[in-house]
């Protein structure tokens, strides 16, 4: 469903991403791993429309999307989280989930002011969806807290819930386990698998936590210094000499 072909991204003299290709099928979890500064987040930024790549193609459900504005890509069903959590921290937890469902706001200005039945029904639907996902990630009790006051692990889960209420086709998670304790990581592990199994969402994930990656990924792409290094199933990657060298050399 997603195909990245020979993606390149140059910042001035720095070639941050060099000829990276990857593809994601329906119903699949694909991981991108690589040492710090390898260019993983940059690949995400190109895919989500934050950067216009300097070379290569990105196809989502058969349509070229490189250079399409970010908000339009997200409306296609390609939604992401961030390496550093980005919540609307002074809004409440529910409000965070409501905002995510507000992409078509101009159509209902008048019906909203007049509070027509049609409008109320739509609002109720958004609320129900928000309530459902709060329950799903275990944040129902926090619904009316300010998002900025949540614990870090809760913020991470809220960010994922916020993506899910938009009903995406493909979810991009940038280091979702960073800063989580082992128990929380295990929960996250289960959540991501359930996203795939129960909600039919494909997932691309960037992660440093190898146990998580090896556990849940169907396929793994390794990037090193902007260049693709290897790709394959977790078992293949585990045995790949180049990968071992790159990682052990780093460590």
């Amino acid at each position: 469903m997603l195909e990245v072909q020979n993606l390149s991204m140059r910042f001035g003299g720095l070639l941050a991403v060099d000829q990276v290709s990857l593809d994601v099928n329906e119903h699949e979890i694909v991981a991108i791993i690589g040492p710090n500064g390898a260019g993983k987040t940059t690949v995400f930024n190109c895919m989500s429309g934050f950067y216009k790549p300097t070379g290569g193609k990105i196809l989502f459900q058969g349509k070229e999307i490189q250079g399409t504005p970010d908000y339009k890509i997200s409306r296609l069903g390609l939604v992401r989280t961030f390496q550093h959590v980005r919540l609307f921290s002074r809004m409440t937890v529910v409000e965070n989930l409501l905002v995510a469902q507000h992409r078509h706001l101009n159509t209902n200005l008048l019906s909203g002011i007049l509070n027509t039945p049609n409008y109320r029904e739509k609002e109720q639907k958004s609320l129900d969806r928000a309530a459902y996902w709060l329950d799903r990630v275990g944040l129902t009790d926090m619904a009316n807290r300010e998002a900025g006051n949540l614990a870090y692990g809760q913020q991470r889960r809220l960010e994922i819930a916020r993506c899910m209420v938009t009903e995406p086709r493909l979810l991009m998670l940038d280091e979702p386990a960073a800063g989580l304790n082992p128990a929380e990581t295990k929960d996250l592990n289960r959540l991501i698998i359930s996203l795939k199994e129960d909600y039919n969402v494909s997932v691309v994930l960037i992660e440093h936590d190898m146990s998580l990656v090896m556990d849940i990924s169907d396929r793994i792409n390794v990037i090193n210094q902007g260049r693709p290094l290897a790709s394959g199933t977790p078992d293949e990657i585990r045995r790949n000499d180049d990968v071992i060298k790159a990682y052990l050399g780093e460590a």
């Binding site: 961030f82 609307f88 809004m91 409000e95 905002v99 469902q101 706001l105 101009n106 928000a130 009316n144």
Partner: protein, 423 residues
């Protein structure tokens, strides 16, 4: 620490001296054709020295003074109290508001004409501030040229009535819509800019509108302004002693009561009241709607908002346009109240005052903004003898607010949303 404080305090005292001595200590006196410089009398000099001393003392013990005052104010103000139960609070709030509204409806019949007139002005400022609150407080766009949209509303009515004889009720929506259109047109190129740049461009836009009005003499009358703007009518009834327009009747004759110039003032007040209430209600509603949340989301984190499918331009434009719309509303009422407008009424200072109201009230908070509008408009009228020092008091109030209550008089409170429990 103490040496540091002492140095700082000395520095501040010297600065006070350096600034105030030349300003207060010298007088220009006209003797025939010449102007000569004379020193001030002894009392002024003593006062200057005293002021420097006070500044010195305050800066020396600043930490302690500020600390005590913060301690005093802390428990008294709402934010740190145990939160009241949500439903009860909402009920009490709506009762209080209804009470205030009923009072506001009947109050003008018992007071002097001057106070009603002032109250009308307060209501106009409330409308303006509520509108700007959308742009600055909710959407986080620093607009320093807000007064331009106010001017558009006022001049729309003035010109329409001057050239086409359009009545207040017709001009009210037209003025507001035209102001909104200006907001939209200006917004398009400008909203790409961020923070400071946006502020500067909107500031420029405000001045452009004013200067245009000043210079398009054959259309707007330039600095002489436009007079003879009609008052609103009540179902075709005029409030003047004699009927001006054919087909209209006069209010006092229809009801068989003696003519009184107060009727007109009270009627205008009531119109302003109704419009202000409508403004408040509509914006309150907007804040709870998807648009309102989108404004805040974009202010909080633009990148996250975009990643969730919110179009930055659409969201910002909607805030800008809606803000402008209400300024146009207020402008029409203002033109009708004054009966005469000129570019003088739409200077930058006006924008600054409205912005100050929003900041003082607490960005995003409607109640706060309304309180601040009342305070900022009425206090200078009460303290007429201090009118020369108006800006000084104003500035001091701003500084004090920023030190002790940077979140404003009544910070915005989030609405509590009840969720249905999941089975």
């Amino acid at each position: 620490m103490i040496a540091n404080n002492l140095k700082h305090a000395l520095f501040c005292a010297v600065i006070t001296l350096v600034i105030s001595y030349p300003i207060l200590g010298f007088n220009l006196v006209a003797r025939g054709v010449d102007i000569t410089l004379t020193g001030a009398d002894a009392t002024t000099l003593v006062m200057v020295a005293l002021a420097a001393l006070i500044v010195f003392g305050f800066q020396l013990f600043r930490d302690r003074i500020v600390g005590t005052i913060t301690d005093i104010t802390r428990p008294g103000f709402g934010t740190h109290k145990e939160p009241m139960e949500e439903n009860r609070r909402a009920r009490i709030e709506s009762w209080v508001l209804t009470g205030i509204l009923v009072l506001a409806l009947f109050w003008p019949f018992f007071v002097s004409r001057g106070s009603v007139d002032l109250a009308t002005l307060v209501l106009i400022y409330i409308m303006l501030a509520l509108g700007l609150n959308v742009v600055v407080g909710l959407a986080g766009l620093l607009d320093l040229g807000y007064v331009a949209f106010y001017a558009v509303g006022a001049y729309t009515f003035a010109l329409l009535s001057e050239y086409l004889g359009v009545s207040f009720w017709m001009a009210l929506p037209i003025g507001a819509l035209l102001a909104a259109l200006f907001g939209l047109l200006l917004g398009f190129p400008v909203l790409r800019l961020r923070g400071d740049y946006l502020a500067i461009v909107t500031l420029g836009f405000g001045e452009i509108i004013r200067i245009l009005l000043n210079n398009m003499t054959n259309l707007t009358g330039g600095p002489n302004g436009i007079g003879g703007i009609p008052e609103p009518t009540l179902f075709g009834m005029e409030f003047g002693r004699r009927v001006k327009e054919e087909g209209n009747t006069s209010f006092h004759e229809t009801f068989g009561i003696a003519y009184s110039s107060e009727h007109k003032v009270i009627f205008l007040y009531l119109i302003a009241l109704v419009l202000a209430v409508i403004t408040a209600l509509v914006i309150r509603r907007l804040m709870r709607m998807p648009v309102g949340r989108a404004w805040e989301a974009l202010r909080e984190d633009e990148i996250a908002a975009k990643s969730l499918g919110l179009s930055r331009t659409a969201v910002k434009l909607s805030a800008f346009t809606i803000g402008a719309f209400f300024a146009g509303f207020a402008g029409t009422v203002f033109a009708s109240k004054q009966g005469f407008i000129s570019p003088e009424s739409f200077v930058f200072l006006e924008s600054a005052i409205i912005l100050a109201i929003v900041v003082l009230g607490g960005m995003g908070s409607q109640m706060g903004v309304i309180l601040a509008a009342i305070a900022v408009t009425i206090l200078p009228e009460l303290a007429r003898e201090f009118s020369e020092y108006r800006m000084l008091i104003f500035g001091a109030a701003m500084v004090l607010m920023m030190v002790w209550r940077p979140q404003g008089l009544m910070p915005m409170r989030r609405i509590h949303i009840e969720l249905k429990k999941q089975e």
